[in-house]
Amino acid sequence: MNKILFSSLSKKFVMALAGLFLLMFLPVHLIINLMLLKSDPVPFNRAAHFMATFPVVKIVEIALIAAILIHISWGIFLQIQNWLARPVGYAGGNKSETSFFSRFMIWTGASVLTFLVLHFFNFYFIKLGLVPGDPENFYSVAHNLFKISAYNYIYLICFVLLGLHLFHAFSSAFQTLGLNHRIWTPVVKVFHRIWTPVVKVFALIYSILIPAGFAYISLTLWLFR
């Protein structure tokens, strides 16, 4: 059983599934965050309250935390294995043509993790009562944070790096899950000739739109409010 759970393919499968789950969460978070642009704090605080208290969301939250932990820990573990597989590097460099952002997944991922830790201290730990603050008024917590220039710089850099991470992650997850096959995925059966470019274009749109949405909120609150 251990051989199945800890085989290289299973680890990648779990990484991809956890990653895809996180990909689904980001648009939900963005939609709620867009309410920060309103001058009335009630809608955002109401949405934050709903997310913190609604039972179904609470179950999803546990899955989300599990997905984050699995994705991070497996990611680090796989990367260490990969480094160990090539103890001596090439003096002439490695000039093979690759999907560009795939080379930096561990570093873009580490940057996102750094932001996540900061984000947890600023919001999630307040909700859990681990850090002092008012969990019923995250609107003002967010607005106060976006007044700090250093926070905005970190926020914007991390979201650019998240975009780079997402661009490779999206198509990579499809490849790892074996979903680019016309029998396994009915959509591929219809669009099999254009499936790969469709995934790439979708990945591109997703990895630009989502970080751009978050960045737009940051820039608007920082520079124009």
Binding site: S8, K12, Q81, N82, A91, G93, K95, E97, T98, G178
Partner: protein, 244 residues
């Protein structure tokens, strides 16, 4: 043309290697890369020095022996060729060429540019076969195979096991090799019978030997001299999930 060669020299598996610099004069554009190395070795032997050890056999691009890492690329900077088919016309007068062995923990250096690629043999032995009695060739039409699938199986079967995919991959992953060997059987009815056992055993062996994990960078596909496609890796993933 005149060339400067920076070649990895290592006496044996346990010795510490270094790059040695050699100056070559009068290298013809018509030479193959291995012929250029032959000329270098002739000079070295003439000077009573140890010639550069490198693997080679058929020199026809089919045996997969002549793998070496040239200027940052397995088999050199020209796509879809093995080192023996790499022509010196792709280099220019005054060039410096870095020549290194494959770098991967499961491919230890034996001497100079020769690595031990028996890890691939071990993966093949684990399951890269079908159990049939040897003897006369069976009647071709007794087991029908779909044309499209048999073409794909053939495309996968042309992997020569040279190890360029492992050498190119930043993670030293052997996924492209294993996926090609899995695919050539998985696509044909004769291979389906032992498909589950095969994929489990070959993946298990691959992991045991210490190859890295695939992170879908695509470097293996870009460097494969036989142009084995990444879709094989996706097929390997599906075959593996189906096996449990």
């Amino acid at each position: 043309m005149k060339l400067t060669l920076k070649i990895w020299r290592q006496k044996n598996a346990k010795a510490k290697g270094i790059f040695a610099t050699y100056k070559m004069e009068d290298v013809s554009h018509e030479m193959s890369f291995l012929e250029m190395l032959d000329a270098l070795n002739k000079n070295l032997v003439g000077e009573d020095k140890d010639p550069v050890a490198f693997d080679h056999d058929c020199r026809e691009g089919i045996c997969g022996s002549c793998g070496m890492y040239i200027n940052g690329h397995p088999h050199g900077p020209v796509p879809a060729v093995t080192t023996c088919h790499l022509s010196m016309r792709y280099f220019s007068d005054g060039d410096t060429i870095w020549i290194e062995p494959w770098r991967a923990k499961p491919f230890p250096v034996i001497k100079d540019l020769i690595v031990d690629r028996s890890a691939f043999d071990k993966i093949q032995i684990a399951g890269g076969f079908i159990s049939v009695n040897a003897g006369a060739a069976p009647e071709a039409n007794s087991i029908l195979a779909e044309k499209k699938k048999s073409d794909k199986a053939f495309d996968s079967s042309i992997c020569i096991g040279c190890g360029a995919c492992v050498a190119a991959c930043k993670n030293a992953s052997a996924m492209l090799f294993v996926s090609a060997k899995i695919s050539q059987f998985a696509l044909l009815p004769q291979g389906r019978i032992e498909a589950k056992e095969r994929v489990r055993a070959m993946v298990e062996k691959m992991d045991e030997l210490g190859f890295g994990n695939c992170s879908n960078t695509g470097a293996c596909e870009a460097e494969c001299p036989k142009q084995i496609k990444l879709t094989n890796i996706s097929r390997l993933n599906r075959e593996y999930y189906k096996a449990y």
